[in-house]
Amino acid sequence: MQALYAQLLVGLINGSFYALLSLGLAVIFGMLNIINFAHGALYMMGAFVAYFLLNLGGINYWWALIIAPVVVGVFGMILERTMLQWLAGLDHLYGLLLTFGIALIVQGVFQNYFGSSGLPYSIPDQLKGGVNLGFMFLPIYRGWVVIFSLVVCLATWFLIEKTQLGAYLRAATENPTLVRAFGINVPRMITLTYGLGVGLAALAGVLSAPINQVRPLMGADLIIVVFAVVVIGGMGSIMGSIITGFALGVIEGLTKYFYPEASNTVVFVLMVVVLLVKPTGLTGRAA
């Protein structure tokens, strides 16, 4: 049983990253109509910013949780202003190719300077150790990642579904021309949305740094699974991408326990099944 709980926890942790990343992808896709293949590279940048802050500036984990998403968010907004904005109205393929290229360049630059091996990033003192829950031992940092991710996901959901700013965002996703004709600066909103989406990715990167180490290719490995999560959940829905993210992490964890050989493929098998049965994804709206 211990091993089952341990795998469930690993599943929840992975699910946290899937949820944070697929949430950002869903928001970006909604507003910019771009399949952001650079998402994994920006996640990795988040982890590296945390690493630099600690090792070059002595700035701790807690500050990194705020600073890294802002730094990477600004970097993302510069990408949007200088490159992505020119793709508006073109086929998805262009955005996909451009962001894929950006991902390769960013990852290549980091690999050039840091190689492929992991750099250590230690767990902050306040979150070291663990608690015995009776049925299992829970490392505090892992519990923190799950809960904090959940809170951030729900806060993002609230922002988009329940606030006036979110109403602008949802309306602009449907009909940007009309929203702009009401007096809202939609291009600026698009830039900020991209910043928000990649900021979430960077936040996931910081959270992941103490667990998975900091590696140039950490995002490249993860992003493929995240895209499968997005396909399964459906691109259109915020809550859908959160729930699917966590659920698939758990399913992966369970598979590791019951049939480890399939643990790396289960998500893709599910993706194929969903695509065959419901091509718009579980919660997606028809295009």
Binding site: N175, A181, I184
Partner: protein, 247 residues
């Protein structure tokens, strides 16, 4: 107080031109739609653009609103040239647009749809006045926007631009596809807005409806304004009108 006075200002046009369109040309991609539109709207007037399908009426409204990419000529609103402005800036000058397809957002409920357009200047209608004009909306505030009937969606589309403080409204075929009783309600609404000092530029296919609300008409054909007359000259122009509109 100044705003309240303005809102109760009685009917007649003050004579000052709020909108002056000169030699307006517009393109959708490669196709040249407007070939030199000339007309004006004075403060407090209801002006109707008439014309057959595809004549360029909707494109004229969209060009004024700044949502047509390629346009040339001159559009002056409140003595400002807006031909090069983006649509968000134009909206902030006090022009509000109710599109033909209504543009109700399906991912927003009725309340969110109603509150979506930002207030661009003081003097918009308060919510309770809007609910007096459109009592149906008050009952449906939590419904999904697109779950409303066609008539209710049209009311919502008009209601949401009354909040913003814009005093110049452009309504694109507000009666299209609606039942006579609802058309009547929209007619009353337009009359009431006019009596409150709103200036309205209307596009209509329904000439009977237009004749109940309009002060002046312009006839649009092949992307040009080919004629114009006041409502008082209507009976004298009936024969011409039948030829223009093919009714």
């Amino acid at each position: 107080m100044a705003e309240a006075k303005l809102a109760e200002k009685p009917v007649a046009a003050t004579g000052a031109e709020v909108l002056t369109v000169k030699d307006l040309q517009a393109w959708y991609g490669e196709s040249h739609i407007l070939h030199g539109i000339n007309f004006n709207v004075k403060a407090g007037e209801v002006v109707t653009l008439l014309g057959r399908n595809g004549a360029g009426k909707t494109t004229t409204l969209k060009s004024i609103m700044g949502v047509i990419g390629k346009r040339s000529g001159s559009i002056r609103f409140d003595n400002k040239e807006i031909i090069r402005s983006t649509s968000d800036k134009i909206a902030r000058l006090g022009i509000a647009f109710c599109p033909e397809e209504r543009g109700i957002f399906s991912s927003l409920d009725v309340r969110e749809n109603l509150l979506l357009p930002p207030v661009v200047r003081p003097g918009g209608l308060p919510l309770d006045q809007i609910f007096t004009l459109f009592p149906n909306l008050k009952e449906r505030l939590t419904s999904q926007g697109t779950k409303l009937s066609g008539g209710e969606q049209q009311m919502l589309a008009i209601a949401r631009i009354l909040r913003t403080g814009a005093r110049f409204l452009m309504l694109d075929e507000p009666t299209e596809g609606l039942a006579p009783v609802i058309i009547q309600q929209i007619g009353h609404t337009i009359a009431r807005l006019k009596s409150q000092g709103f200036t309205i530029l209307l596009v209509e296919q329904n000439f009977r409806f237009a004749s109940t609300v309009a002060d002046r008409y312009y006839i649009v054909e092949h992307g040009k304004v080919i004629d114009g007359f006041a409502n008082s000259e209507l009976s004298a122009n009936m024969d011409k009108l039948h030829t223009y509109l093919g009714v």
